[in-house]
C-alpha cells in the first residue's frame, strides 16, 4: 500500500512528465486551448503510456538484457509504441466509438510523443526507479503502475493548463505578451509550482 501511494505521488506530482521533466511539451502547448480537447489528449496519452510499459518492460527484461543488447532499447521501444498506437486506435474505433470520438485525432499524434518514450526509458532504469520509489525490487506491476500514473500526471498538467489559458485569453494582456508569450510565462510558473514537490521528503 505504501509503495502504491509512493508511485502515485512520484509519478503524478514529484516527477510530473510535463512540468518537472519537460517531456511532451508540444501537446502541452498545442492541445491545451480547450479543456475538452486537453482531456482527450490526456486520456489517450495515459492509455498509451500504460500499454507501452506493459509491453516494453518484459521485452527489455526478458529479451534484451539476457542477450546483452541493451543499446537496442530506443529502436525497439519506438517500434513497439508506433505499432501499439496503430492497434489501439483500430481497437477503440471498433469497440468504443464514443471514446474514439473523445480522443479524436490525438491518438495517432502521440505515436512520436517523447513523454511516452520517456516513461518507457524510465521504468527500465532499475537503479533510478529503486531510488526514486524507495523500494527493494522492481517488477512489472510497479512499471505498469508508474506508466499509468505518469499518464495521469500528464493529464493533470494539460487540463490545468487549458483552464488557465481559457482564463488568460479573456484577460486584458499587454499586446506584446498576448497569445503565446503569456502562455509560456504561465507554463513556467506552473513548472515552478510543481518543482516544490521535489522539496517534500516522503519518509
Amino acid at each position: 500500500m505504501g509503495n502504491f501511494l509512493m508511485i502515485i505521488i512520484m509519478a503524478v506530482f514529484v516527477n510530473n512528465f510535463i512540468l518537472v521533466q519537460f517531456l511532451g511539451i508540444c501537446p502541452f502547448l498545442g492541445v491545451s486551448k480547450q479543456t475538452g480537447n486537453a482531456l482527450g489528449m490526456g486520456l489517450a496519452v495515459t492509455l498509451v503510456m500504460t500499454m507501452t510499459c506493459l509491453i516494453t518492460y518484459p521485452i527489455y527484461q526478458f529479451i534484451l538484457v539476457p542477450l546483452g543488447l541493451q543499446y537496442l532499447e530506443i529502436i525497439v521501444f519506438i517500434f513497439v509504441i508506433a505499432s501499439l498506437v496503430q492497434m489501439i486506435e483500430k481497437f477503440i474505433k471498433k469497440f468504443s466509438p464514443s471514446l474514439y470520438n473523445a480522443m479524436g485525432v490525438y491518438l495517432p499524434l502521440i505515436t512520436t510523443n517523447c513523454a511516452v518514450l520517456g516513461v518507457a526509458e524510465l521504468v527500465i532504469d532499475k537503479a533510478q526507479m529503486l531510488s526514486l520509489l524507495g523500494i527493494e525490487s522492481m517488477n512489472i506491476g510497479v512499471a505498469v503502475g508508474y506508466g499509468f500514473f505518469a499518464g495521469v500526471g500528464f493529464t493533470l498538467a494539460i487540463v490545468l493548463m487549458s483552464g488557465l489559458r481559457q482564463k488568460i485569453d479573456k484577460l486584458d494582456v499587454a499586446p506584446a505578451l498576448k497569445g503565446f508569450p503569456i502562455t509560456m510565462i504561465a507554463a513556467s510558473f506552473m513548472a515552478m509550482a510543481f518543482y516544490i514537490f521535489n522539496m517534500i521528503s516522503i519518509g
Binding site: 521485452i59 542477450l67 517500434f79 505499432s83 492497434m87
Partner: protein
Amino acid sequence: MQSMIILSATIQWNKVGMVLGIIAGLAILFGILIIVVTKVCHIEEDEKVTAILSHLAGANCGGCGHSGCSGFAESLACGKACIGDCKVTSKEEKEIICKIAGIEMSDDEPTVAVVRCGGGVNAVDKFDYVGYEDCINQVVIMGGDKLCSTACLGGGTCVKVCPVGAIKIDGDGVAHVDKSICISCGACIGKCPKVVIDRIPAKAKVYVACNNHCKAKEVMSVCKVGCIGCGMCARSCPHGAITMVDNIPVFDYDKCTGCMTCVEKCPRNIIKVH
C-alpha cells in the same frame, strides 16, 4: 588497408545477426498483429460519406452545428441533417451532394448575417462595465450594461468566433457585418448571448437595425435610435413590402425594390442601407 583490418576484426557477426534477428522478429510479430487487429476491428467505411465530404466547401466553420465538415457529411449520409444547414457550399456542389445522399434539394437562397441593433453609444447604459471584453462575460452581470434588453453589447464575442473575419466593432460600439466577406455560416448567431444577429437574404438592400419589440415610450427611454414602431415605413412603401409585426417593420424582400423611400422617411434612421 589498415582500417579494413580493424573493421573486420571488430565486427561480431553473431551479435549483428542477433540484432537483425530481434528487429526482424519484432517487425514480423507486430506486422502480423497489426494485420490481425485491422481484420478483427474492420469497420465498413461509408463511401457515401467520403464522396459527400469531397463536395463540401471544407470551411470547417461549425456553423451547421456539427464539429466540422466530416461530421456534417456523416449526418447528411444517414439523413439526419439538412443540406440547407450549410451556407458555405455553392449551389452546384449542393446539387451533386443531394444526388449522392439521395435527399431533397432545399432551394435556399444565399443569406448574410446582420446585426439587429444600431444602439451602441446611442443606447443608454445601465452601469459602467469594467472587466473582460467579452459579451458572454458581460451578460452574466444583470444581462449586460445596456438598459435595452435586446441591445448589442459590443463586447466582440462574434468578432472572435467569425471564421472569416467579417465582423468588426467600430467606434459606435455595435458589431457590423461586412456582407462581401460573410459566408453566413451561423457561428456568430449561435454564440451571441443577446441573440441580436440574424440572417437576411444576400440580395436585400435594406434592413432594420433594431429588434426591440417594446412600445415607443419604452424604446425612447432606453435608446436614442431604436425603432419606435411608428409604421411610417410601412405606410410610405410604394411596393407594400413592409408590414408592422410587434412594433417592428418586417420586410418582404421579394417585393422590395430598394427604392430607399423607407430609409428617407424613418424618423429614427434605424432602417439601414445594406
